[in-house]
Symmetry: C2
């Protein structure tokens, strides 16, 4: 009986576990510090009040309940003891025959971690709720204010980072101010909201072709989004953003500018790229440690493809499944194979009814790209229940222009703490 | 043009606003410190992971958007200046011709406010999320532990207070441990969870008849709930509850034992009952202040009924509407009327398919009472959208035995705060 320990319940870890589920002579323990798998491609919709957290997340132990050889533990892994083949978590130590590390990435502020307080990133449900709170609170503060200059500041939204996440956030705020909120306020006109998308590089969506990026920029402008390229951010505080010497006062600042591999990877002492992603062999194992695999965003894979594989859900999903198959092959006495990524392309939604899709030479934009975007996301959603409810919510929002989850939820649950 | 200021967007405030919406010569400002109206009767289902917050709450300004004479402000009212007829909020002062106070109640620990940290109450979405986090975390901690004594402690759930909320919470935990979670764990058997409902008085559900309360107690026992009556709690700490001299170690402690009127009422200098509810006249106005009304849970109304009106949604709803009609009558030169409550009865759900209902001499229990409970709650839900999604979620849960919102969502959204 071989024991496979998987660290991380994202796309890579979850799909590795599923592929090892109910297999003979294999026992699996999946450890994650959270109790849920999160469908990250739709997280911006939670931040933008279109979906509820429970619609894009599900308890990992529930997803894997039918596999009797899998144990799920909610715990935080703090170290890996390669010599004794053990994973050390805060409350337990797990000995492994095979280890799969799939801890993903978190956002980084490039040495300015103090900016986080003023400009939340978007990687967890907690952060999505925080972003929702800030954006909706900015509209509320503008409605309360009678001073046009303060109203203008409250209604300025700055998104730092012109990748797909930044574009999707900017498009959603544009959608919200132009359609969803138009009738709800008395002192302000939400259409006057300024949405500014800041990109340090020469253009937005650098991973897409220039033509598709230009098309996206055009769609964003129609939603009232101003795009500022070649504009590296040099400072962020509670009131605004500094771009070179120019200051932008803002009601909410969102961070979508950079990611960095989870810190656990550093404990392996292995080679890593600038983002901290661990360099892996052609079979996704660690050099000199064939029993340790790294998958998903945490892995730097630069074999047999023109460029290193990007941090995308399909890469993680395929890698997780591939590692499981290699482990099954090896325990059955067969040889390991080398990983090849089947390119699933890339896509980004822009507001309520536009998207761009690129897959090799196939390029699609506008309404039908958006329909394809919908179908693809529904298809890959975690469970039948989530598929059903997200479909219904989207159908409802599309026809009513409404957003079902416009709740400002506070951080503090206690009544009496302040009164002591 | 008369200006009506409403403080509080609960059942009373919202229904007063609606009844004044788009009426001539009336201008309304509704102030609430939260941006959403909350359908409190279903809040325990959010705490118990059956529904998402957005399904039982909606932005107040969105509900009232079609009434062009209503302005909604998210702000906290800190004082009432009766002499100058002004409401003082943190960011603005509002002058009124009529004032409607409908701030509701919060839970109270009878002088032991330090217990709150260990035993959250259930009045807000934040508290519901906190309770959900604690209950689900207790199951996770039990699964991680290898020590039977600690597992037993983690799997002990204590609910303090045998009113409808305590009964509904206990029933829902029973349901969860007996049905929802049974296949998801490997080290523990969720069915072994101990659920202890503690009541200081001689029986649970004192507002119901003895026969119905006994029936509810029977149904609770079938779900594994132990009921301990005549058991006043004398201490609560992070590890458990003290009842007289006996100690109960617990994995999660929930508070459903008492409520107290919102503190703003004290600023009126008016007569109040032991719970801090403001004593009102027959037309729900304040003595010597016919321009100030108090409605809902915050009001103590003891006219023309055998006993003072209880803190129930139908009371608040009827009172809010009634006050609006009196204001409209008075501004049209007609006389005010006296409030009469049309009794809508009371009801409580027990687990997934049982309920009790009492309305005068009509008594209903078991499955059909539960069906009636469903229909009534759906009927009164805030919007068509909420009705639709709650109905679908309930249908889904009923047939699948699942709970759609089993997410443990943390309090902290920052990654980098600890690393500074």
């Amino acid at each position: 009986m071989k024991h496979v320990v998987i660290v991380g319940g994202g796309f890579a870890g979850l799909n590795a576990a599923k592929a090892l589920g109910n297999r003979k002579n294999i026992r699996v323990t999946l450890v994650d510090r959270l109790n849920h798998h999160l469908f990250q491609p739709l997280l911006y919709q939670v931040a933008m009040a279109a979906l509820s957290p429970a619609e894009i997340a599900a308890p990992i132990r529930h997803i894997l309940a039918k596999y009797r050889n899998i144990t799920v533990l909610q715990d935080e892994v703090v170290d890996v003891d390669r010599k004794h083949r053990a994973v050390i978590a805060t409350e337990c130590t797990l000995h492994y025959d095979y280890l799969i590390l799939a801890c993903g990435v978190k956002h980084t502020y490039f040495g300015h971690e103090e900016w986080e307080e003023y400009a939340p990133g978007l990687k967890t449900i907690e952060q999505a709720t925080e972003i929702r709170r800030r954006v909706l609170n900015a509209f509320e503060a503008a409605e309360r204010s009678r001073d046009p200059a303060r109203q203008r500041r409250h209604l300025t939204f700055v998104i730092v980072g012109g990748g797909p996440t930044g574009v999707e956030l900017a498009g959603a705020i544009g959608e919200m101010s132009h359609h969803t909120l138009t009738k709800d306020f008395r002192n302000i006109n939400p259409r006057l909201a300024r949405i500014i998308l800041i990109e340090a590089g020469p253009r937005i969506l650098p991973s897409f072709s220039g033509k598709m990026a230009a098309k996206a920029a055009e769609d964003l402008k129609k939603l009232g989004v101003q795009i500022r390229t070649s504009s590296p951010v040099t400072g962020i505080d509670s009131e605004g953003v500094l771009i070179n010497q120019e200051r932008l006062e803002a009601g909410a600042i969102l961070w979508a500018a950079g990611v960095q591999a989870a810190p656990l990877g550093q404990k392996l002492g292995a080679e890593a790229d600038a983002m901290g992603r661990i360099v892996v062999e052609g079979d996704l194992s660690l050099k000199n440690h064939p029993e340790i695999f790294v998958a998903g965003d945490q892995a730097f894979f630069a074999h047999s493809h023109p460029s290193p594989l990007p941090c995308l859900a399909p890469v993680a999903l395929q890698q997780g499944r591939f590692i499981a198959r290699n482990i099954l092959a090896e325990t059955a006495g067969r040889r390991r194979r080398q990983f090849h990524y089947l390119d699933k392309g890339q896509l980004a939604a822009i507001g309520r009814s536009k998207a761009i899709i690129e897959l090799g030479r196939l390029r699609l934009e506008g309404f039908w790209a958006w329909v394809a975007w919908l179908v693809i996301h529904i298809y890959y959603l975690i469970s039948f229940e989530n598929k059903l409810f997200v479909t219904l919510h989207w159908a409802w929002s599309f026809f009513s222009f409404r957003r079902g989850a416009r709740l400002i939820i506070g951080k503090e649950w206690r009544f009496y703490r302040g009164s002591k």
